[in-house]
């Protein structure tokens, strides 16, 4: 009887505890989220960014191909013509208005794929929660990359 208790109850418990004890030595995989953040995978697709060239000009030319490719139809582009006084992008055309409805976006990345200049990219910033619906309409100003610090213009 005692022998059976030992083999069927105590021994498995001790074996289990031994596993736990061994695991204690390893690194913990939980992170203290807001304070700590885990490195994202290289191909993670989260918040969109409109990138710039090194000289600060926008890569986006307002061609609306992203809007055409978008399966959720969440992108709205209005373009206008660059002038010599007011130049936003190289070439003739730039996006005057560029809006993404983040509530509708499914982060599929087709816009990135469609973009002929590599202007729109989905980066790793995933903290997109907000309080008001209106705040989910990301405008061109919100999406644009900051001007490069080294400005040689």
């Amino acid at each position: 009887m005692i022998k059976e208790i030992w083999s069927d109850v105590v021994k498995p418990i001790l074996a289990g505890l031994a596993v736990t004890a061994r695991r204690l030595k390893r690194d913990k995989s939980t992170v203290f989220y807001p304070e700590e953040q885990r490195e994202q995978y290289p191909r993670t697709r989260w918040r969109h960014v409109l990138t710039r060239y090194e000289n600060g000009l926008e890569k986006c030319i307002g061609c609306s191909l992203c809007a055409g490719a978008c399966p959720a139809r969440c992108i709205y582009v209005e373009s206008a013509e660059n002038t010599d006084e007011e130049r936003y992008s190289p070439g003739e055309r730039y996006a005057k208005r560029y809006e993404i409805n983040m509530l509708r976006c499914i982060f599929c990345g087709l816009c990135e794929e469609a973009c002929p200049t590599g202007a729109i990219v989905l980066r790793k910033d995933f903290e997109l929660a907000d309080y008001h619906r209106d705040d989910f309409i990301y405008t061109r100003e919100m999406l644009l990359e900051k001007m490069p610090v080294k400005s040689d213009r």
């Binding site: 061609c63 609306s64 055409g68 209005e78 070439g91 003739e92």
Partner: protein
């Protein structure tokens, strides 16, 4: 006109499938009969083939006596190859696929491939055909040619030379269709470019069409430049209401705003063309001056109000107003609106004071062409002009007044060698293909018509009751006419020669603006009757639905005042309240001073319009109304064709369709069930004006319907106008 010999059929085989086609038809058209398509750039079904782009290459063989097919070693262009008996066509062989790929590769060598920026991207034949037939990569790594970018050919058309593939469609359009010949190819070889002649603008009335026929993005619209991409746009069928031609259009819109207008194929009206006025003239739809909400006057200023308050103020004045209230309309509202408006006035307000005409002469019921001569004012559909052997343009510049009719008439000359006689006081665009130009002195219209009538009466003879007329015009011998009008007697004889066999008259109601307009119209009708061409007489309306207003009868009732009478009544106090429906007397009425006095003195002025006008500032109540694109409705064009427009975009602000406003007012007065849709109103119109029974919405699709002629054909009657030239015209030598 197609004759029996042209209809001779031959049997050809397309990809081993037999098909019978008219002899001489181009193969590019024949293959469409079995649902195939040959890729094309330079070929356009409405222009002569040139074979410039080489895209439509097909393999061609001839059937031999033993039944086998002998294929020619080299391919041929399908757009220049007429169908003959026993021809065998192969559109999809290994060789042809390779040829097409090669042609596209050559075309793309000099093409900048800036599709993401190009306005044509997304609806570009070059882009589409490259995707289907072209190479997926380029072998051309050298620097591409650099040429003009976004060069403004005119206010409306921009040229991007780098994108041009030199197909010549635009050049051929100006030569063959619009006839102004404004574009030509400069230089040769790789440098060849379509351009205007030195130091000139592209000043065609039809320049917008070159944008549409261009198979690449070389010619683009300055108005549409970078405003949207084709996939951003919603496209709906609509009708142009800029003039009375009533062209079918595609109305492209985005988030409720008009973006651009393109031509829509309607073989009976505009084929596929638009004029620049129609293509670029719709910007008022997006104007910040659009009226969006009812306004009522409070002392010195207008303030926003609800519809109920506006209705209350209107009914307080107009209800039971009788002869003391009046209404003036423009030629723009739809049939439905005009009908309910007329009913509101005649039956609810019991006022006969109603008019839609703004000419100097406002003929009464017995003085119109119908009343005086017993013939209809409009007899010839636009498409029928194509087959007319002789066409008489009288009075103005047809290209300005009736641009699409002008294109038809030019086509009649270009294709069928119609003799076009142009009588106008000033140079017109029709002069360059006219058989004979009669350039008369302003004021001598009646005398010129008298001279022509005299010559035609001599020739035709046997017109009933012509004796008096013969006497009246006896003094206008060609020589005397030359003295009075300045038209050479030889030209007059030549014109009469061409017109003797019968001719179609194309004039517009603006003739009533002449000081002796009524006499001129009578003289013109006499002329048509003398050549037994009364069934081809046309006095066309010039506004989108002016003809509809005439048919529906937006005209003074028994004892009612016409436009001039109403405005004088407003000035003198006889008319207390005036309703302006989509019209501005300041702009429309020939006597501006009278218009000003009328609007300043009338007690109550109701302005119902799309946009702020000058009259708006005098208004007591302002009602916004819908533009043609914002409301269901139908329009009667100048050839009496009724065409339907559906709601394309939402009305601006609180604007309501006019017919709805009228039915709501009626409801407040009578309590009867009002019509709930434009379709119902058309049903009511059909019972009030029987000619509109054919245009019930159930059968108002596609090209629209032409209203049937009322009654039997009466014998045309001649009348005696005053043939004297206006004073002073003789001295103006």
């Amino acid at each position: 006109m197609q004759t029996a010999t042209e209809q001779e059929l031959v049997t050809i085989t397309v990809n081993d499938q037999e098909v019978r086609v008219p002899k001489g038809e181009m193969i590019v058209e024949s293959v469409k009969r079995i649902g195939l398509d040959v890729p094309i750039f330079c070929y356009h079904p409405r222009m002569k083939p040139v074979g410039m782009c080489r895209m439509c290459l097909v393999d061609v063989g001839m059937k031999q006596k033993d039944g086998s097919v002998r294929v020619m070693p080299k391919p041929q262009t399908a757009c220049t190859l007429p169908a003959t008996e026993g021809l065998a066509i192969y559109t999809d062989t290994e060789q042809i696929r390779k040829d097409r790929k090669g042609i596209l590769e050559f075309l793309l060598v000099n093409h900048p491939l800036d599709c993401p920026v190009c306005d044509r991207g997304g609806e570009c034949p070059l882009q589409n055909l490259t995707l289907i037939y072209g190479p997926s990569t380029t072998r051309f790594v050298e620097e591409k040619r650099h040429l003009l970018k976004a060069f403004p050919l005119s206010k409306y058309v921009q040229l991007d030379l780098e994108r041009c593939i030199q197909c010549g469609r635009c050049v051929r359009f100006t030569e063959e269709i619009s006839g102004d010949g404004q574009l030509a190819f400069l230089f040769r070889g790789a440098l060849m470019q379509p351009q205007t002649y030195e130091l000139t603008d592209f000043t065609s009335r039809f320049s917008g069409n070159t944008i549409e026929v261009c198979p690449v993005g070389a010619l683009t619209s300055a108005e549409y430049r970078f405003r949207a991409r084709p996939w951003d746009l919603e496209t709906s069928p609509a009708i142009c209401t800029e003039c009375s031609n009533g062209c079918s259009t595609w109305f492209d819109h985005r988030v409720g705003e008009m973006i651009r207008i393109n031509g829509r194929t309607n073989e009976a009206v505009n084929e596929e063309w638009t004029c620049d006025k129609g293509k670029f003239g719709h910007n008022y739809l997006n104007s910040p001056k659009r009226l969006t909400t009812p306004l009522v006057r409070d002392g010195e200023s207008l303030r926003e109000a609800g519809w109920a308050e506006a209705y209350e103020r209107i009914l307080a004045v107009f209800k039971g107003g009788g002869g003391a209230v009046a209404g003036l309309s423009g030629g723009r509202p739809s049939n439905e609106s005009l009908f309910l408006w007329k009913r509101l006035f005649t039956e609810r307000f019991e006022s006969p004071n109603l008019d839609h005409r703004w000419h100097v002469h406002l003929p009464g019921a017995g003085e119109t062409v119908a009343g005086r001569h017993g013939i209809r004012e409009v007899n010839t559909p636009i498409a029928a002009f194509e087959g007319m052997p002789a066409i008489f343009f009288f009075g103005g510049d047809p290209a300005a007044e009736q641009p699409i009719l002008y294109l038809r008439v030019r086509k009649a000359w270009f294709r069928n060698e119609a003799k076009v006689i142009v009588a106008a006081p000033e140079p017109t665009e029709a002069d360059n293909f006219a058989y004979c130009v009669l350039r008369y002195r302003p004021g001598s219209e009646a005398a010129l018509l008298g001279g022509l009538t005299r010559l035609l009466l001599e020739k035709a003879g046997g017109v009933a009751g012509a004796d008096e007329l013969r006497q009246a015009v006896a003094r206008f011998t060609p020589e005397e006419t030359e003295v009075v009008t300045g038209v050479a007697s030889g030209a007059l004889r030549r014109a009469a020669e061409a017109m003797a066999e019968g001719f179609a008259t194309a004039a517009s109601r603006t003739l009533y603006n002449l000081p002796n307009g009524a006499d001129v119209v009578t003289a013109l009708t006499n002329l048509a009757i003398s050549a037994k061409s009364a069934d081809r007489f046309n006095l066309f309306a010039t506004e989108a639905n002016e003809q509809g207003a005439l048919e529906i009868g937006v005209l003074p009732g028994a004892g009612g005042l016409d436009t001039r009478g109403i405005l004088e009544g407003c000035r003198d106090g006889g008319v207390r309240a005036l309703w302006l429906l989509q019209c501005d007397p300041f702009e429309r009425f020939p006597n501006r001073e009278l218009a000003r006095q009328a609007l300043e003195n009338v007690e109550f002025l109701l302005v119902q319009d799309i946009i702020e006008t000058e009259s708006f500032h005098h208004a007591s109540v302002v009602l916004p109304c819908c533009a043609f694109s914002e409301d269901d409705g139908s329009y009667t064009n100048m050839e009496r064709r009724v065409q339907r427009v559906r709601r394309v975009v939402a009305p601006k602000g609180h604007a309501k369709p006019s017919w709805k406003v009228f039915s709501e007012l009626e409801l407040r007065m009578t309590g009867e069930t009002p019509p709930f849709s434009a379709k119902e109103v058309m049903g009511m119109l059909g019972s009030a004006a029987p000619q509109y029974q054919v245009s019930a919405y159930d059968h108002l699709e596609g090209e629209g319907v032409i209203l049937p002629a009322e009654g039997g054909a009466a014998e045309p009657r001649l009348a005696l106008p005053d043939y004297d030239a206006m004073e002073g015209s003789r001295e103006l030598v």
